[in-house]
């Protein structure tokens, strides 16, 4: 999956604009990255990549790129 495809999937997951989800963008600045956004990402990561995120990992996310880095099957 290319970065562009990952961003598209992430945008669809949290109902945000792809433009706002550049890898260097701060998650704190993204309105849709709220509590429900986080839960939607957890479900997507498990369904699409088999990655089981825990609370500490989610809390460690600072930039969009931190999420993109885990969007792979072997993460």
């Amino acid at each position: 999956m290319t970065d562009k495809e990952k961003i598209a999937l992430l945008a669809e997951t949290i109902e945000a604009d792809e433009e706002a989800l550049k890898p260097e963008a701060l998650l704190a600045d993204i309105e849709q990255y709220d509590s429900m956004g986080k839960l939607s990402i957890i479900v997507m990561m498990e369904d699409e990549f088999g990655v089981k995120l825990d609370s500490d990992t989610v809390k460690s996310f600072v930039k969009v790129g931190d999420i993109l880095a885990l969007m792979k099957k072997d993460a």
Partner: protein, 315 residues
Amino acid sequence: MIQTKIDGIRIAAISAAVSSNWESLSDVLGTMTAEDRALAEKFTKNTGVKGRYNAGRYQTTSDFCYASAKEILDKKQIDPREIGALVFVTQTHDYGLPATACVLQHRLGLSEDCIAFDVNLGCSGFTYGVNIISSLMKTSNVSKALLLCGDTSAKEKNFNAKVKQSHSATLLFGDSGTAALLVKDDRAEPIYSLSKTDGSRYKAIIKPYGAWRNPEPADCETEMDGVAVFTFSTREVPELITKTMKLTDSTPSDYDCLVLHQANMFIMKQIQKKTGFTKDQLAVSIDEFANTSSSSVPLTLVHRYVNSVRGGGGH
């Protein structure tokens, strides 16, 4: 985990009570700006909560449980002296001391021979309560017992400045109290359950102040790590449901419905999907009653099988 098979005990009646004061989320948020309206709509979409019943200022969980228990005793024409045990599951007791179960024993006119005690549990309270009370009945001469569950979690919320910072906790909970009558019955179908407790995650939902570890007065409310609660619920609970079905050699199609603790709709749908139940099988009360803590399972059963619980109860 502990595996329980309860023979010879039947849940003979369930009753639920709420106040007559239902508030929509819009009402809870007060004067609605466009931003508040969007917040309320989004919250409903995500959690399923449209509103809740609020306890009055001096109305407590035990008042709702009393109304529910009285309804059962009256409708079933049970002599209060027949009740041998009363277990009250709550995290919103009437007093610091004594156990509210003692107050309820007296108020319901039960005998001094009826033992009464509180259990401090939230979401898991009803199933744990059934386990506790059934075990007690199996090892004693008690033939009828009352399991009372409830909380007034919405009551502690501060509706003002904190709403936007902590709206998930502020808008999520509702107030209610339920009662279940358990009786000895040789012909009863066995009740199976699997239970476990993960104490390592005790901080996931915590009210840290106002008790003895941090005795300072509780200025802040209950704290909830939503992500931790979500991951626990959607990973651990489906496994327990699936294992329970294996234990009983059953499949989702053998059940009328799936009654989950009404945590929030997003969690409930995830569990329903993972366990192979259909959307129609998922019993829902969170839309009207919000998350009602330990009373949510019996309340949802009453809501599904009785048309209305308004005005005091039904069973």
